[in-house]
C-alpha cells in the first residue's frame, strides 16, 4: 500500500505542470513544510478563514447594495418604514434583508465574520507578543501584522457606516467630529473627504470604494506577504525535547496538516454561520434611517472601536486650549486620533524598542514562556488592562444603567482606573512571573513533590521529591540566561564607555537594567538527579534544610 504508483491521469496533470514550471522539487519541499502543533498556532488561522468568509459574503452583498445617499421615499417590502424618507443605501440594505433570500443571513455572516476577524487577530497578536515570537528574524512580519490589524479597524468602521442606519450614520458623524479637531488642516480634510459639509452626498459612495476595493486590496496584499514570510522563515515553536533553535518539529503540510486545517476552516465557518443564524446582529430595520438630528441612548460601536469610544467618553476637557483664538480640542484629538496613533506606534515599534533595550541581536525560533520575560509580560498585561478599561468605558452608560451607578461616577472610576490599573497590573504580573520562575528553578533543582512521606532515621518526616520527566526538564531548561546590564559598568581601567555617558546611552542602560534586573538566574542549576538527600544531608541529624522538608 505504500508504493502505489500515481494514477496515470494524475501523472499526466503533474507532468503538464512540471513541464512548464519545473515544480517537482519545490512542490515536494513545500508539501513537506512542517507546522508545529499547538492550539495557540490556530488563532491566526481563524483570522485568515474569517477574512476569506468576509470576501465571499462581501461580494454577495455588493450585488444589491446601492452606495447612494440620494433621498427617496421608501415603498418596499418592510411595511413599517413605508413612506419614510431615507437614503438609497439604507433602502437597498432593507431590500437585501427582506427581498433577497439569504440576504439577511449573508449580512449577518459578514458582520459576525468581521467581529471575529478582528478578535482573532487581536488574540493572535497577544500570543505572539507574550511568547516573544516577534523577535528577530520575525520583526517585519510582526509589523505587517500590526498594520493589518489597524487597517481592519478602519475597514470595519467604514463597513459599519455603509447601511446608513441611525447608529451607522452617528459613527460617521463622530468620525467627522474627530477629523474637524485636527489643528489647521482639519476643516480642509473634512471638506475634501465629505465633498462639502456633513453629511453631504458623497461620503457613502467614497467609503464604499474604500471598503470594497482599496482597503481589502491592501489587506489581501499584506496578508499574502504575512503568509509568505511565515512560510519562508518557518514557525516558531514552544520549547520541548528535540525542538531547538536550529530545527522545527511538527506535522507536515501534506497530508495531515492540510486535512486538519481544512477541517478547521469548516469549523470556523460553521461557528460564524451558526451565530448568524441564531444571534441577531445589527438589525438596521429596527434602528431606522440616519438623520443628523435624531439619536438614541445606549449606542454602541462594534467591539473593536470600543476603546476609542471609551477614550472619547472619559477624556476630560481640561486640556483644551486656544492659540491666538484658534481652538485645539485636545479632548477630541487625544482620544480620537491619539489613542489609535499611540497603539499603532507602540505595536509597530515594539520589536525594535525591545531589541534596543536588551541588545539582543540573535535569531530566535523557540518561543519564550511568558514568565521567562517578566518585564515584557508585565508591560503586555498593563497595556491590555488600559485597553480593556477604555473598552469598558465605551459602554459606561450601559454599565451605569445595569448596575444603577451614577453615570458621572462611572466616568470617574474609569478615569482613575486607566491610570492606576496598569501600574497595579504591571507589578502584580511581574511578581507572578518571578514567582513562577522561582518555582521552575526549584522543580528543576529538586524534582517535583511526589506526595510520598518518608521517615528519616532521625525520626523526621520528609516529602520525597522525584525526578521530573525529561520533557519537563527540557522545558524548564529552555530559559535563556538573561544578561544583566550593569549600569555602572566600566572597562578594565575604570573608564565608562563613551556610549554609557551619552544621554541616550544612559537611558538605554537604565532601561536595560530595569528590564532584566529581577530575572531569576538558572545558571549553575543542575536538574534533580533522583535521590532526595542530595545536598547537605551527610549527617542524619542535620535536617534543617527547609528546601527539602516542605
Amino acid at each position: 500500500m505504500s508504493d502505489t504508483p500515481a494514477p496515470k491521469s494524475l501523472r499526466a496533470v503533474g507532468n503538464f505542470i512540471d513541464d512548464r514550471f519545473h515544480l517537482a522539487k519545490t512542490g515536494e519541499k513545500n508539501l513537506r513544510k512542517v507546522f508545529p502543533n499547538h492550539w495557540s498556532f490556530m488563532l491566526g488561522e481563524i483570522a485568515l478563514y474569517s477574512f476569506i468568509i468576509l470576501l465571499l459574503t462581501g461580494v454577495f452583498l455588493t450585488l444589491w447594495f446601492k452606495p447612494s445617499m440620494t433621498e427617496i421615499v421608501y415603498d418596499g417590502s418592510y411595511e413599517r418604514l413605508n413612506g419614510v424618507l431615507m437614503s438609497e443605501a439604507y433602502a437597498s440594505t432593507l431590500h437585501i434583508t427582506f427581498d433577497v433570500r439569504g440576504g439577511l443571513l449573508m449580512r449577518q455572516i459578514h458582520h459576525w465574520a468581521a467581529l471575529i476577524f478582528v478578535a482573532s487577530m487581536t488574540i493572535h497578536m497577544l500570543r505572539v507578543f507574550f511568547t516573544g515570537a516577534f523577535r528577530k528574524p520575525r520583526e517585519i512580519n510582526w509589523t505587517i501584522g500590526a498594520i493589518i490589524l489597524l487597517l481592519s479597524f478602519v475597514e470595519g468602521l467604514f463597513g459599519y457606516s455603509l447601511p446608513d442606519d441611525l447608529p451607522s450614520g452617528m459613527g460617521v458623524r463622530i468620525l467627522q467630529g474627530v477629523i474637524l479637531s485636527i489643528p489647521v488642516i482639519g476643516t480642509y480634510v473634512m471638506m475634501f473627504l465629505f465633498g462639502g459639509e456633513f453629511p453631504g452626498e458623497d461620503i457613502i459612495p467614497r467609503l464604499y470604494m474604500l471598503h470594497i476595493l482599496l482597503i481589502p486590496g491592501i489587506l489581501l496584499a499584506l496578508i499574502v506577504a504575512h503568509f509568505m514570510i511565515l512560510w519562508h522563515q518557518k514557525h516558531t515553536q514552544y520549547p520541548g525535547t528535540g525542538r531547538t533553535e536550529k530545527k522545527v518539529v511538527g506535522t507536515p503540510m501534506y497530508p495531515a496538516f492540510a486535512v486538519k486545517a481544512g477541517g478547521f476552516f469548516f469549523f470556523t465557518f460553521a461557528v460564524i454561520v451558526g451565530l448568524s443564524a441564531f444571534v441577531q446582529i445589527n438589525p438596521i430595520h429596527l434602528f431606522g434611517p440616519f438623520t443628523p438630528t435624531s439619536i438614541t441612548s445606549g449606542l454602541q460601536p462594534d467591539w473593536y472601536m470600543g476603546f476609542m469610544e471609551g477614550a472619547l467618553r472619559i477624556f476630560p476637557n481640561w486640556f483644551d486650549f486656544n492659540i491666538a483664538g484658534y481652538a485645539v480640542p485636545v479632548a477630541v484629538l487625544v482620544p480620537g486620533l491619539g489613542s489609535l496613533g499611540l497603539l499603532a506606534v507602540a505595536l509597530i515599534a515594539w520589536p525594535w524598542i525591545e531589541q534596543w533595550i536588551t541588545r539582543d541581536r540573535e535569531h530566535h525560533n523557540v518561543a519564550d514562556r511568558p514568565r521567562n520575560a517578566p518585564t515584557r509580560t508585565a508591560l503586555g498585561v498593563a497595556a491590555s488592562v488600559v485597553y480593556g478599561l477604555l473598552w469598558l468605558a465605551g459602554s459606561n452608560d450601559i454599565i451605569s444603567e445595569t448596575f444603577s451607578i451614577n453615570l458621572y461616577l462611572t466616568t470617574w472610576i474609569f478615569r482613575v482606573g486607566v491610570i492606576v490599573g496598569p501600574v497595579v497590573a504591571f507589578i502584580v504580573t511581574k511578581r507572578i512571573c518571578l514567582g513562577l520562575q522561582r518555582r521552575d528553578r526549584e522543580t528543576l533543582e529538586h524534582g517535583y513533590e511526589s506526595g510520598t512521606i518518608e521517615q528519616l532515621p532521625s525520626g523526621e518526616f520528609i516529602e520525597v521529591h522525584k525526578t521530573s520527566s525529561p520533557e519537563t526538564v527540557h522545558v524548564l531548561r529552555s530559559k535563556r540566561p538573561v544578561p544583566r546590564i550593569d549600569v555602572e559598568a566600566t572597562d578594565e581601567e575604570g573608564v565608562e564607555s563613551p556610549e554609557a555617558r551619552s544621554v541616550m546611552g544612559r537611558l538605554r542602560n537604565r532601561l536595560a537594567h530595569w528590564y532584566t534586573k529581577d530575572n531569576i538566574s538558572f545558571e549553575g542549576v543542575e536538574p534533580h538527579s533522583g535521590h532526595h538527600l542530595h545536598h547537605g544531608h551527610a549527617t542524619a541529624g542535620a535536617e534543617q534544610e527547609p528546601a527539602n522538608t516542605h
Binding site: L193, K247, T251
Partner: protein, 374 residues
C-alpha cells in the same frame, strides 16, 4: 493487512501511541508487533530528507471505525446541505398573501432555517475531516532545520560587488547631472495625485460658521409642519426639538436637506429662571423665558437630545457631555469644551417664535477657527 494484525491490533495500537515502533514492550520480551508491517510501510511512506522521529499508525480496525464515522459526518453534511437548498426555496420573497421573507418574523425564521442547515453542514464537514485526520491517518511529527537566514559572507560580498558594478556601469553613481534631473523629473509627478484630489470637495471658507437661520424665520417642530408659538412650550414639558420653517412640496419631510438640518436643529427650552452665568446679551436672546440652543454637541457632533427638567441639564447620549441650559449651556461635565451655541429668539406679532439672527458661534464639533470671527 491480515486478520492477525487486527486481532492483536487494538492493544498494540494503543500502546504504539506512546512508544517508538520497534522498541521492546513494557515486559521487555517482544518488540511492538501487530502493526509492525503497516508501521514500517507508513514510515517509508513519509520518508524523505527528514524522517519522522516516531510514527503512531492507526490499526486497520481504528481506520475502519474512523472511516465509518467520517463517512457518517459527511452524510450529515450532505443531508443538511440539501436542507439548506430546500429552505432557500421554502421561504419565497414578497408574494401576495403567502408568508414571505418580507415579514420580519418570517425573515427571521428563514434566516434560522438557512443558517442552521448551512452551519450544520459546514460543521459536519469539519468534523468528518477531523475524524479522518485523527483516526485514519498515522500521526507523526517530522523536523526540518530552520534556514540559516544570513547569507554567507562570500555570497554577500559577491552580491555587493555585482550590484555596485552594475551601478557604475549604468552611470547612475558617476553622472550626478542625470541622476539629479531624473529625481527632479519625478517630483511634480509625485505631487500630481495629491493635486488631483483637490476637487473632492470645496474649501471650508467660513461656511462651517453660518447656518440658514435668519432674523424673522419661523420654526417648526422637528418632523412636522407645525409652527411653534411661544405658548406651546408650556404644554409639552418644557422642551421641543425644532427646525427652521421652509416652504416645500409633497407630504414628506420639512423641505430641508440633511446638511441644513444637521446645522440648524435647535432645542427650545422654557426656563423658569436663568442662572447667574447667563450674560445680559444671552438673556436678551431669550423670549418669554424660552431659550434656544443648537442641538448638535460641540464635542463630536451627536445630537445632545436628553434634557432633564429638574436640573436643567442637557446631556449628549454619545459621550455624556453635559450642558447647563440655565447658564448659557456651559459645559458642566464631560469631554465637550465649548458651550452649545445659542440662537437669538423673539416673538413675532402673531405670537410665533422666530429667530432674531444666526447662532452666537459656530455650530457642531469644535474646529480650528471655530471661535474666530469672520
Amino acid at each position: 493487512m491480515t486478520d492477525n494484525n487486527n486481532l492483536n491490533g487494538a492493544g498494540a495500537g494503543a500502546e504504539g501511541r506512546d512508544r517508538v515502533i520497534g522498541t521492546p514492550t513494557a515486559d521487555g520480551d517482544t518488540l511492538v508487533s501487530g502493526t509492525e508491517e503497516s508501521a514500517a510501510s507508513s514510515q517509508q511512506r513519509h520518508i524523505g530528507p527528514y524522517p519522522a522521529v516516531e510514527t503512531h499508525p492507526r490499526t486497520e480496525e481504528q481506520q475502519r471505525k474512523g472511516e465509518r464515522s467520517a463517512a457518517l459526518w459527511f452524510l450529515v453534511a450532505f443531508v443538511s446541505g440539501v436542507g439548506f437548498l430546500v429552505s432557500y426555496f421554502l421561504f419565497p420573497p414578497a408574494a401576495d398573501g403567502a408568508p414571505s421573507i418580507a415579514h420580519p418574523a418570517t425573515a427571521q425564521l428563514a434566516n434560522m432555517a438557512m443558517g442552521g442547515t448551512l452551519a450544520l453542514s459546514l460543521f459536519a464537514i469539519g468534523a468528518g475531516m477531523t475524524v479522518w485526520a485523527r483516526q485514519v491517518m498515522p500521526h507523526y511529527e517530522v523536523s526540518t532545520p530552520y534556514d540559516e537566514l544570513p547569507s554567507s559572507p562570500k555570497e554577500k560580498s559577491s552580491f555587493s560587488d555585482f550590484f555596485m558594478r552594475g551601478a557604475h556601469e549604468s552611470g547612475f553613481t558617476k553622472r550626478p547631472l542625470m541622476r539629479r534631473t531624473l529625481i527632479a523629473a519625478m517630483l511634480p509627478l509625485g505631487l500630481a495625485p495629491v493635486v488631483l484630489l483637490r476637487d473632492t470637495g470645496p474649501l471650508p471658507g467660513d461656511r462651517l460658521k453660518h447656518t440658514m437661520w435668519e432674523s424673522g424665520m419661523r420654526m417648526v417642530v422637528e418632523g412636522t409642519d407645525r409652527e411653534i408659538r411661544a405658548t406651546d412650550l408650556d404644554r409639552v414639558g418644557g422642551m421641543i426639538s425644532a427646525l427652521p420653517k421652509a416652504p416645500h412640496e409633497g407630504e414628506h419631510g420639512h423641505g430641508l436637506t440633511l446638511n441644513e438640518q444637521a446645522k440648524a436643529v435647535i432645542l427650545l427650552i422654557k426656563m423658569d429662571e436663568f442662572g447667574p452665568d447667563m450674560t445680559e446679551q444671552q438673556r436678551s436672546w431669550t423670549a418669554d423665558g424660552i431659550v434656544a440652543y443648537s442641538k448638535i454637541c460641540t464635542h463630536v457632533g451627536c445630537p445632545a437630545a436628553l434634557y432633564e427638567r429638574t436640573t436643567h441639564r442637557i446631556l449628549c447620549p454619545c459621550h455624556q457631555s453635559t450642558f447647563d441650559a440655565a447658564n448659557g449651556a456651559k459645559v458642566v461635565f464631560g469631554p465637550a469644551h465649548r458651550p452649545l451655541p445659542q440662537l437669538p429668539l423673539r416673538v413675532d406679532d402673531e405670537g410665533y417664535l422666530v429667530a432674531a439672527g444666526d447662532f452666537s458661534s459656530a455650530v457642531g464639533p469644535t474646529f480650528w477657527d471655530a471661535e474666530k470671527g469672520d
